[in-house]
Amino acid sequence: MSADHNVFITEETVEGAANGPLADRTVAVKDNISTEGVRTTCGSEMLEDYVPPYDATVVEKLKDAGATIVGKANMDEFGMGSTTETSAFGPAENPVAPGRVPGGSSGGSAAAVAAGEADLALGSDTGGSIRNPAAFCGVVGIKPTYGLVSRYGLVAYANSLEQIGPLAPTVEEAAALLDVISGPDPRDATTREEGADSDYASAATGDVEDTTVGVPTELVEGADEGVRERFEATLDDLESRGATVEEVSLPSVEHAVEAYYVIAMSEASSNLARFDGVRYGESGGFEGNWNEAFSNSREAFGEEVKRRILLGTYALSAGYHDKYYKQAQDARAWVRQDFDEAFESVDVLASPTMPTPPFAVGDSLDDPLQMYLADANTVPVNLADLPAISVPAGEVDGGLPVGVQFIAPAFGEADIIRVGSAVEN
Protein backbone atom coordinates (compact mmCIF):
# COMPACT_ATOMS: atom_id res chain seq x y z
CA MET A 1 0.00 0.00 0.00
CA SER A 2 2.49 2.59 1.20
CA ALA A 3 4.69 2.17 -1.84
CA ASP A 4 1.87 3.85 -3.75
CA HIS A 5 2.33 7.19 -2.06
CA ASN A 6 5.76 6.83 -0.40
CA VAL A 7 4.11 7.70 2.89
CA PHE A 8 6.56 5.90 5.18
CA ILE A 9 10.34 6.06 5.35
CA THR A 10 10.37 3.11 7.74
CA GLU A 11 7.48 0.70 8.18
CA GLU A 12 7.72 -0.97 11.54
CA THR A 13 5.01 -1.89 14.02
CA VAL A 14 5.42 -0.95 17.67
CA GLU A 15 2.65 -2.21 19.92
CA GLY A 16 1.47 -0.03 22.77
CA ALA A 17 -0.02 -0.96 26.14
CA ALA A 18 -2.95 -3.40 26.16
CA ASN A 19 -5.43 -0.78 27.31
CA GLY A 20 -5.87 2.93 26.97
CA PRO A 21 -7.77 5.60 25.05
CA LEU A 22 -5.93 4.73 21.81
CA ALA A 23 -5.96 0.93 22.28
CA ASP A 24 -7.55 0.24 18.90
CA ARG A 25 -5.86 3.01 16.95
CA THR A 26 -2.87 3.01 14.59
CA VAL A 27 -0.60 6.05 14.47
CA ALA A 28 2.00 7.23 11.93
CA VAL A 29 4.83 9.19 13.55
CA LYS A 30 6.75 11.88 11.65
CA ASP A 31 10.32 10.77 11.13
CA ASN A 32 11.84 13.62 13.15
CA ILE A 33 10.29 12.26 16.38
CA SER A 34 12.56 9.80 18.18
CA THR A 35 11.47 6.17 18.52
CA GLU A 36 13.62 3.83 20.59
CA GLY A 37 15.10 1.12 18.40
CA VAL A 38 13.39 2.37 15.23
CA ARG A 39 15.47 4.46 12.86
CA THR A 40 14.66 8.14 12.74
CA THR A 41 16.06 9.82 9.63
CA CYS A 42 14.47 13.29 9.53
CA GLY A 43 14.15 12.61 5.81
CA SER A 44 17.91 13.09 5.53
CA GLU A 45 20.78 11.06 4.14
CA MET A 46 22.74 12.44 7.11
CA LEU A 47 20.68 10.30 9.51
CA GLU A 48 19.99 7.37 7.17
CA ASP A 49 21.24 4.86 9.76
CA TYR A 50 20.43 6.69 12.99
CA VAL A 51 18.56 4.59 15.56
CA PRO A 52 17.59 6.59 18.67
CA PRO A 53 18.33 4.91 22.02
CA TYR A 54 15.26 6.52 23.60
CA ASP A 55 11.64 7.51 22.92
CA ALA A 56 10.38 11.06 22.57
CA THR A 57 7.96 11.94 25.37
CA VAL A 58 5.05 11.98 22.91
CA VAL A 59 5.97 8.46 21.78
CA GLU A 60 6.00 7.23 25.39
CA LYS A 61 2.58 8.78 25.78
CA LEU A 62 1.30 7.09 22.62
CA LYS A 63 2.50 3.71 23.86
CA ASP A 64 1.02 4.27 27.32
CA ALA A 65 -2.31 5.16 25.68
CA GLY A 66 -2.31 1.81 23.87
CA ALA A 67 -1.67 3.11 20.35
CA THR A 68 0.03 0.95 17.74
CA ILE A 69 2.73 2.82 15.84
CA VAL A 70 2.76 1.64 12.23
CA GLY A 71 5.67 3.57 10.76
CA LYS A 72 7.82 6.66 10.50
CA ALA A 73 6.24 9.10 8.10
CA ASN A 74 8.00 10.77 5.19
CA MET A 75 8.83 14.46 5.52
CA ASP A 76 10.79 17.34 4.05
CA GLU A 77 14.41 16.99 5.16
CA PHE A 78 14.67 18.24 8.76
CA GLY A 79 11.23 19.81 8.32
CA MET A 80 12.50 22.27 5.73
CA GLY A 81 9.99 22.49 2.93
CA SER A 82 6.31 22.97 2.14
CA THR A 83 5.74 20.02 -0.17
CA THR A 84 7.54 16.87 1.15
CA GLU A 85 9.61 16.92 -2.03
CA THR A 86 12.93 17.61 -0.25
CA SER A 87 12.98 14.20 1.47
CA ALA A 88 16.14 12.24 0.76
CA PHE A 89 13.89 9.18 0.47
CA GLY A 90 11.86 10.52 -2.42
CA PRO A 91 8.74 12.71 -2.39
CA ALA A 92 5.49 11.59 -0.83
CA GLU A 93 2.41 11.81 -3.03
CA ASN A 94 -0.96 13.32 -2.33
CA PRO A 95 -3.41 10.39 -2.08
CA VAL A 96 -6.48 12.54 -2.76
CA ALA A 97 -5.05 14.75 -5.54
CA PRO A 98 -2.94 12.69 -7.96
CA GLY A 99 -0.02 14.58 -9.49
CA ARG A 100 -0.08 17.08 -6.64
CA VAL A 101 2.15 17.35 -3.57
CA PRO A 102 0.76 16.39 -0.15
CA GLY A 103 2.11 19.62 1.37
CA GLY A 104 4.82 19.73 3.95
CA SER A 105 6.79 19.28 5.88
CA SER A 106 4.58 16.66 7.60
CA GLY A 107 3.35 15.43 4.22
CA GLY A 108 3.82 11.74 4.97
CA SER A 109 1.81 12.08 8.19
CA ALA A 110 -1.11 13.80 6.45
CA ALA A 111 -0.98 11.42 3.49
CA ALA A 112 -0.97 8.40 5.83
CA VAL A 113 -4.24 9.58 7.37
CA ALA A 114 -5.79 10.60 4.03
CA ALA A 115 -4.92 7.22 2.47
CA GLY A 116 -6.16 5.26 5.47
CA GLU A 117 -2.72 3.79 6.14
CA ALA A 118 -2.95 5.03 9.74
CA ASP A 119 -5.94 6.12 11.80
CA LEU A 120 -4.02 9.09 13.21
CA ALA A 121 -0.64 10.75 12.83
CA LEU A 122 1.82 13.01 14.61
CA GLY A 123 3.48 15.87 12.76
CA SER A 124 5.51 18.88 13.78
CA ASP A 125 4.69 22.48 12.90
CA THR A 126 7.43 25.12 12.75
CA GLY A 127 5.76 27.50 10.30
CA GLY A 128 2.71 25.57 9.19
CA SER A 129 4.06 22.07 8.68
CA ILE A 130 1.00 20.35 10.19
CA ARG A 131 -1.69 22.71 8.87
CA ASN A 132 -0.33 22.96 5.32
CA PRO A 133 -0.40 19.19 4.56
CA ALA A 134 -3.68 18.81 6.46
CA ALA A 135 -5.21 21.37 4.09
CA PHE A 136 -3.63 19.82 0.97
CA CYS A 137 -4.70 16.26 1.89
CA GLY A 138 -8.19 17.08 3.19
CA VAL A 139 -7.62 16.07 6.83
CA VAL A 140 -7.60 17.87 10.20
CA GLY A 141 -4.36 19.16 11.75
CA ILE A 142 -3.74 21.03 15.00
CA LYS A 143 -0.72 23.20 15.81
CA PRO A 144 -0.85 23.46 19.63
CA THR A 145 0.09 26.49 21.73
CA TYR A 146 3.85 26.69 22.27
CA GLY A 147 4.58 24.77 25.48
CA LEU A 148 1.45 22.57 25.46
CA VAL A 149 3.23 19.51 24.06
CA SER A 150 6.71 18.30 25.01
CA ARG A 151 9.42 18.63 22.36
CA TYR A 152 11.72 16.17 24.16
CA GLY A 153 12.89 13.74 21.49
CA LEU A 154 11.88 15.96 18.57
CA VAL A 155 14.96 16.57 16.43
CA ALA A 156 15.23 20.35 16.63
CA TYR A 157 15.01 22.61 13.59
CA ALA A 158 13.87 25.94 15.11
CA ASN A 159 13.13 25.42 18.81
CA SER A 160 11.39 28.71 19.53
CA LEU A 161 8.73 28.07 16.88
CA GLU A 162 7.98 24.36 16.68
CA GLN A 163 5.39 22.12 18.31
CA ILE A 164 4.38 18.51 17.81
CA GLY A 165 0.68 18.08 17.00
CA PRO A 166 -2.00 15.66 15.75
CA LEU A 167 -3.43 14.91 12.31
CA ALA A 168 -6.69 12.95 11.98
CA PRO A 169 -9.73 12.45 9.74
CA THR A 170 -11.99 14.42 12.12
CA VAL A 171 -11.66 17.27 14.61
CA GLU A 172 -12.77 15.06 17.49
CA GLU A 173 -10.14 12.41 16.73
CA ALA A 174 -7.42 15.04 16.42
CA ALA A 175 -8.52 16.50 19.77
CA ALA A 176 -8.43 13.06 21.40
CA LEU A 177 -4.85 12.55 20.21
CA LEU A 178 -3.96 16.01 21.53
CA ASP A 179 -5.39 14.96 24.90
CA VAL A 180 -2.91 12.06 24.95
CA ILE A 181 0.23 14.01 24.03
CA SER A 182 -0.33 17.35 25.82
CA GLY A 183 0.83 18.30 29.31
CA PRO A 184 3.96 19.26 31.22
CA ASP A 185 7.21 17.28 30.92
CA PRO A 186 10.14 17.62 33.32
CA ARG A 187 12.43 16.91 30.35
CA ASP A 188 11.22 19.95 28.40
CA ALA A 189 11.51 23.14 30.44
CA THR A 190 9.34 25.05 27.94
CA THR A 191 6.26 22.93 28.72
CA ARG A 192 3.47 24.38 30.85
CA GLU A 193 0.79 23.03 33.18
CA GLU A 194 -2.06 23.59 30.73
CA GLY A 195 -3.12 20.41 29.03
CA ALA A 196 -2.22 18.19 32.00
CA ASP A 197 -5.74 16.84 32.48
CA SER A 198 -7.25 18.09 29.26
CA ASP A 199 -10.47 16.94 27.67
CA TYR A 200 -10.23 18.61 24.29
CA ALA A 201 -12.18 15.81 22.60
CA SER A 202 -15.37 16.78 24.41
CA ALA A 203 -15.01 20.35 23.10
CA ALA A 204 -15.89 19.13 19.59
CA THR A 205 -19.56 20.01 20.02
CA GLY A 206 -20.10 22.02 16.85
CA ASP A 207 -21.68 24.79 18.93
CA VAL A 208 -20.77 28.26 17.66
CA GLU A 209 -23.74 30.15 19.08
CA ASP A 210 -22.54 33.60 20.24
CA THR A 211 -19.00 33.01 19.01
CA THR A 212 -17.32 35.98 17.34
CA VAL A 213 -15.09 35.01 14.42
CA GLY A 214 -12.59 37.65 13.26
CA VAL A 215 -11.36 37.59 9.67
CA PRO A 216 -7.98 39.29 9.13
CA THR A 217 -8.33 40.91 5.73
CA GLU A 218 -4.56 40.60 5.13
CA LEU A 219 -4.80 36.78 5.24
CA VAL A 220 -7.61 36.58 2.69
CA GLU A 221 -6.55 39.09 0.03
CA GLY A 222 -3.78 36.95 -1.47
CA ALA A 223 -5.79 33.74 -1.78
CA ASP A 224 -6.92 32.16 -5.06
CA GLU A 225 -10.50 32.83 -6.07
CA GLY A 226 -11.63 29.23 -5.59
CA VAL A 227 -10.05 29.09 -2.14
CA ARG A 228 -11.76 32.36 -1.21
CA GLU A 229 -15.11 31.02 -2.32
CA ARG A 230 -14.75 27.95 -0.11
CA PHE A 231 -13.65 30.18 2.77
CA GLU A 232 -16.61 32.56 2.35
CA ALA A 233 -19.00 29.60 2.17
CA THR A 234 -17.55 28.29 5.44
CA LEU A 235 -18.09 31.66 7.12
CA ASP A 236 -21.67 31.82 5.82
CA ASP A 237 -22.31 28.41 7.30
CA LEU A 238 -20.91 29.45 10.69
CA GLU A 239 -23.12 32.56 10.63
CA SER A 240 -26.17 30.43 9.90
CA ARG A 241 -25.33 28.49 13.06
CA GLY A 242 -25.28 31.57 15.25
CA ALA A 243 -21.71 32.85 14.96
CA THR A 244 -20.91 36.49 14.29
CA VAL A 245 -18.29 37.25 11.65
CA GLU A 246 -16.40 40.53 11.56
CA GLU A 247 -13.35 41.88 9.78
CA VAL A 248 -10.21 42.67 11.73
CA SER A 249 -6.84 44.03 10.65
CA LEU A 250 -3.43 42.56 11.44
CA PRO A 251 -0.99 44.90 9.67
CA SER A 252 2.04 43.11 11.11
CA VAL A 253 1.37 39.87 9.23
CA GLU A 254 2.64 41.51 6.04
CA HIS A 255 6.11 41.03 7.53
CA ALA A 256 5.57 37.66 9.17
CA VAL A 257 7.07 35.53 6.39
CA GLU A 258 10.42 37.31 6.31
CA ALA A 259 10.59 37.41 10.11
CA TYR A 260 9.76 33.73 10.27
CA TYR A 261 12.41 32.67 7.77
CA VAL A 262 15.15 34.82 9.34
CA ILE A 263 14.42 33.38 12.80
CA ALA A 264 13.92 29.78 11.62
CA MET A 265 17.05 29.78 9.45
CA SER A 266 19.12 31.37 12.22
CA GLU A 267 18.01 28.73 14.72
CA ALA A 268 18.55 26.01 12.12
CA SER A 269 22.12 27.13 11.44
CA SER A 270 22.87 26.61 15.12
CA ASN A 271 20.82 23.44 15.68
CA LEU A 272 22.19 21.57 12.70
CA ALA A 273 25.78 22.13 13.84
CA ARG A 274 25.37 18.96 15.92
CA PHE A 275 25.49 16.82 12.77
CA ASP A 276 29.24 16.44 12.58
CA GLY A 277 29.64 12.81 11.54
CA VAL A 278 31.33 11.92 14.85
CA ARG A 279 28.64 11.12 17.42
CA TYR A 280 26.08 10.22 14.77
CA GLY A 281 25.36 11.04 11.18
CA GLU A 282 27.13 10.47 7.92
CA SER A 283 30.88 10.43 8.44
CA GLY A 284 32.97 12.53 6.11
CA GLY A 285 35.93 10.28 6.82
CA PHE A 286 38.96 11.42 8.74
CA GLU A 287 41.10 12.88 5.99
CA GLY A 288 42.34 16.38 6.66
CA ASN A 289 41.68 18.39 9.78
CA TRP A 290 38.55 18.74 11.87
CA ASN A 291 36.99 21.56 9.84
CA GLU A 292 37.54 19.81 6.54
CA ALA A 293 36.17 16.52 7.84
CA PHE A 294 33.19 18.35 9.32
CA SER A 295 32.47 20.13 6.00
CA ASN A 296 32.82 16.86 4.10
CA SER A 297 30.35 15.04 6.31
CA ARG A 298 27.84 17.87 5.88
CA GLU A 299 27.82 17.53 2.10
CA ALA A 300 25.21 14.86 2.90
CA PHE A 301 22.65 17.58 3.59
CA GLY A 302 20.17 18.25 0.80
CA GLU A 303 20.04 21.56 -1.01
CA GLU A 304 17.19 23.17 0.95
CA VAL A 305 18.94 22.35 4.24
CA LYS A 306 22.22 23.82 3.01
CA ARG A 307 20.38 26.90 1.74
CA ARG A 308 18.82 27.52 5.17
CA ILE A 309 22.02 26.85 7.14
CA LEU A 310 23.91 29.31 4.93
CA LEU A 311 21.24 32.01 5.03
CA GLY A 312 20.95 31.57 8.81
CA THR A 313 24.71 31.80 9.22
CA TYR A 314 24.72 34.93 7.05
CA ALA A 315 21.87 36.55 9.03
CA LEU A 316 23.70 35.97 12.31
CA SER A 317 27.17 36.96 11.08
CA ALA A 318 29.00 40.09 12.18
CA GLY A 319 27.51 43.20 10.60
CA TYR A 320 24.21 41.57 9.68
CA HIS A 321 22.81 40.49 13.04
CA ASP A 322 21.11 43.83 13.71
CA LYS A 323 19.94 44.15 10.13
CA TYR A 324 18.19 40.79 9.95
CA TYR A 325 17.87 38.88 13.22
CA LYS A 326 17.14 41.79 15.56
CA GLN A 327 14.57 43.26 13.19
CA ALA A 328 12.96 39.84 12.80
CA GLN A 329 12.55 39.71 16.58
CA ASP A 330 10.91 43.16 16.46
CA ALA A 331 8.54 41.89 13.80
CA ARG A 332 7.76 38.85 15.97
CA ALA A 333 6.86 41.12 18.90
CA TRP A 334 4.68 43.21 16.59
CA VAL A 335 2.82 40.12 15.36
CA ARG A 336 2.16 39.03 18.94
CA GLN A 337 0.88 42.49 19.82
CA ASP A 338 -1.45 42.52 16.80
CA PHE A 339 -2.94 39.16 17.75
CA ASP A 340 -3.39 40.27 21.37
CA GLU A 341 -5.31 43.33 20.23
CA ALA A 342 -7.47 41.33 17.81
CA PHE A 343 -8.45 38.87 20.54
CA GLU A 344 -9.78 41.75 22.64
CA SER A 345 -12.78 41.88 20.29
CA VAL A 346 -13.10 38.37 18.80
CA ASP A 347 -13.03 34.79 20.15
CA VAL A 348 -11.19 33.17 17.25
CA LEU A 349 -9.63 34.28 13.97
CA ALA A 350 -10.31 32.56 10.64
CA SER A 351 -8.43 32.45 7.34
CA PRO A 352 -7.76 30.09 4.47
CA THR A 353 -5.00 27.71 5.66
CA MET A 354 -3.14 27.86 2.33
CA PRO A 355 -3.72 30.56 -0.31
CA THR A 356 -3.86 27.95 -3.10
CA PRO A 357 -4.94 24.35 -3.66
CA PRO A 358 -2.12 21.74 -3.59
CA PHE A 359 0.78 22.56 -5.93
CA ALA A 360 1.57 20.31 -8.88
CA VAL A 361 4.57 18.04 -8.23
CA GLY A 362 7.82 19.86 -9.03
CA ASP A 363 6.27 23.33 -9.34
CA SER A 364 7.81 25.01 -6.31
CA LEU A 365 11.27 23.47 -6.24
CA ASP A 366 13.04 25.86 -8.58
CA ASP A 367 12.11 29.08 -6.84
CA PRO A 368 12.65 28.90 -3.07
CA LEU A 369 11.34 32.41 -2.44
CA GLN A 370 7.99 31.55 -4.04
CA MET A 371 7.78 28.44 -1.87
CA TYR A 372 8.51 30.50 1.27
CA LEU A 373 5.73 32.96 0.37
CA ALA A 374 3.15 30.16 0.33
CA ASP A 375 3.40 30.02 4.14
CA ALA A 376 2.02 33.54 4.62
CA ASN A 377 -1.13 32.44 6.46
CA THR A 378 0.43 29.87 8.76
CA VAL A 379 3.70 31.42 10.01
CA PRO A 380 2.15 34.31 12.01
CA VAL A 381 0.69 31.72 14.39
CA ASN A 382 4.11 30.22 15.17
CA LEU A 383 5.65 33.68 15.68
CA ALA A 384 2.93 34.42 18.24
CA ASP A 385 3.08 30.96 19.94
CA LEU A 386 -0.67 30.48 19.38
CA PRO A 387 -2.82 27.39 18.72
CA ALA A 388 -4.43 26.88 15.30
CA ILE A 389 -6.40 24.17 13.53
CA SER A 390 -6.86 23.41 9.84
CA VAL A 391 -10.18 21.82 8.91
CA PRO A 392 -11.28 20.63 5.44
CA ALA A 393 -13.62 23.12 3.77
CA GLY A 394 -14.52 21.33 0.57
CA GLU A 395 -12.80 21.13 -2.78
CA VAL A 396 -12.08 23.24 -5.85
CA ASP A 397 -11.25 22.44 -9.48
CA GLY A 398 -12.80 18.99 -9.40
CA GLY A 399 -11.31 17.50 -6.25
CA LEU A 400 -8.47 19.64 -4.87
CA PRO A 401 -8.88 20.00 -1.08
CA VAL A 402 -9.11 23.41 0.60
CA GLY A 403 -8.56 23.98 4.32
CA VAL A 404 -9.70 26.75 6.65
CA GLN A 405 -7.68 27.76 9.66
CA PHE A 406 -8.95 28.91 13.05
CA ILE A 407 -6.62 30.61 15.53
CA ALA A 408 -7.26 31.14 19.27
CA PRO A 409 -5.45 32.94 22.10
CA ALA A 410 -2.73 30.93 23.87
CA PHE A 411 -4.08 27.71 25.41
CA GLY A 412 -7.44 28.28 23.71
CA GLU A 413 -7.36 24.86 22.02
CA ALA A 414 -10.90 24.06 23.16
CA ASP A 415 -12.26 27.05 21.22
CA ILE A 416 -10.67 26.18 17.87
CA ILE A 417 -11.73 22.55 18.34
CA ARG A 418 -15.31 23.67 19.00
CA VAL A 419 -15.44 26.02 16.00
CA GLY A 420 -13.56 23.58 13.76
CA SER A 421 -16.02 20.83 14.57
CA ALA A 422 -18.87 23.08 13.43
CA VAL A 423 -17.33 23.26 9.94
CA GLU A 424 -17.39 19.50 9.44
CA ASN A 425 -21.02 19.04 10.50
Binding site: V262, R279, R298, T313
Partner: protein, 99 residues
Protein backbone atom coordinates in the same frame (compact mmCIF):
# COMPACT_ATOMS: atom_id res chain seq x y z
CA UNK B 1 17.61 46.27 -5.97
CA UNK B 2 19.00 42.88 -6.76
CA UNK B 3 22.40 43.36 -8.31
CA UNK B 4 23.72 39.88 -8.58
CA UNK B 5 27.41 39.13 -8.45
CA UNK B 6 29.33 42.33 -8.99
CA UNK B 7 29.43 43.20 -5.31
CA UNK B 8 27.78 46.59 -5.80
CA UNK B 9 24.88 45.66 -3.55
CA UNK B 10 25.82 44.14 -0.22
CA UNK B 11 22.46 42.35 -0.04
CA UNK B 12 23.43 40.21 -3.01
CA UNK B 13 26.35 37.96 -2.18
CA UNK B 14 28.35 36.71 -5.14
CA UNK B 15 29.96 33.27 -5.44
CA UNK B 16 32.95 34.28 -3.30
CA UNK B 17 30.74 35.39 -0.44
CA UNK B 18 28.63 32.23 -0.71
CA UNK B 19 31.85 30.20 -0.41
CA UNK B 20 32.93 32.29 2.58
CA UNK B 21 29.62 31.74 4.41
CA UNK B 22 29.75 28.04 3.55
CA UNK B 23 33.23 27.91 5.12
CA UNK B 24 31.92 29.65 8.24
CA UNK B 25 29.02 27.19 8.43
CA UNK B 26 31.32 24.22 7.61
CA UNK B 27 29.05 23.06 4.82
CA UNK B 28 30.74 21.63 1.77
CA UNK B 29 29.26 22.91 -1.53
CA UNK B 30 29.98 21.91 -5.11
CA UNK B 31 30.48 24.59 -7.80
CA UNK B 32 26.93 24.28 -9.12
CA UNK B 33 25.47 24.82 -5.67
CA UNK B 34 27.64 27.91 -5.22
CA UNK B 35 26.35 29.39 -8.48
CA UNK B 36 22.73 28.56 -7.74
CA UNK B 37 22.87 29.98 -4.21
CA UNK B 38 24.59 33.15 -5.48
CA UNK B 39 21.66 33.60 -7.90
CA UNK B 40 18.97 32.93 -5.28
CA UNK B 41 20.35 34.69 -2.21
CA UNK B 42 20.03 38.17 -3.76
CA UNK B 43 16.27 37.80 -4.13
CA UNK B 44 15.78 36.18 -0.74
CA UNK B 45 17.90 38.73 1.13
CA UNK B 46 16.21 41.61 -0.71
CA UNK B 47 12.96 40.22 0.56
CA UNK B 48 14.32 39.96 4.12
CA UNK B 49 15.29 43.63 3.87
CA UNK B 50 11.63 44.62 3.94
CA UNK B 51 12.00 44.06 7.70
CA UNK B 52 13.37 47.65 7.62
CA UNK B 53 9.71 48.73 7.49
CA UNK B 54 8.91 47.12 10.86
CA UNK B 55 8.35 49.72 13.59
CA UNK B 56 10.12 49.42 16.90
CA UNK B 57 7.88 47.46 19.22
CA UNK B 58 8.09 47.28 22.95
CA UNK B 59 8.78 43.65 23.74
CA UNK B 60 7.10 42.18 26.73
CA UNK B 61 9.57 40.25 28.81
CA UNK B 62 7.48 37.45 30.21
CA UNK B 63 10.39 35.02 30.15
CA UNK B 64 11.16 33.08 33.32
CA UNK B 65 13.98 30.76 34.22
CA UNK B 66 13.02 27.14 34.81
CA UNK B 67 15.37 25.42 37.25
CA UNK B 68 15.61 21.85 38.45
CA UNK B 69 17.44 20.43 41.42
CA UNK B 70 21.07 19.68 40.59
CA UNK B 71 20.73 15.95 41.13
CA UNK B 72 22.14 13.07 39.15
CA UNK B 73 19.61 11.49 36.79
CA UNK B 74 19.56 8.40 34.67
CA UNK B 75 21.32 8.86 31.39
CA UNK B 76 22.35 6.80 28.40
CA UNK B 77 24.85 4.02 28.98
CA UNK B 78 28.24 4.38 27.32
CA UNK B 79 27.27 1.65 24.90
CA UNK B 80 24.03 3.42 23.94
CA UNK B 81 25.78 6.77 23.56
CA UNK B 82 28.30 5.23 21.17
CA UNK B 83 25.83 3.10 19.23
CA UNK B 84 25.33 5.60 16.39
CA UNK B 85 28.92 6.79 16.05
CA UNK B 86 30.56 5.97 12.71
CA UNK B 87 33.91 5.32 14.45
CA UNK B 88 34.75 4.45 18.06
CA UNK B 89 37.86 3.22 19.86
CA UNK B 90 38.18 1.78 23.38
CA UNK B 91 34.76 3.11 24.40
CA UNK B 92 35.33 6.61 23.04
CA UNK B 93 34.07 8.53 20.03
CA UNK B 94 36.72 8.82 17.39
CA UNK B 95 36.89 12.11 15.50
CA UNK B 96 39.15 13.77 12.97
CA UNK B 97 42.40 15.53 13.84
CA UNK B 98 42.10 18.89 15.51
CA UNK B 99 44.75 20.97 13.84
Amino acid sequence: MSDTSDGSDDAAPGPEEVRHVADLARVGLDDEEVERFADQFGDILDYFETLEEVPEVERETDLVNVMRADEARDCLSQEEALANAPETEDGYLKGPNVS
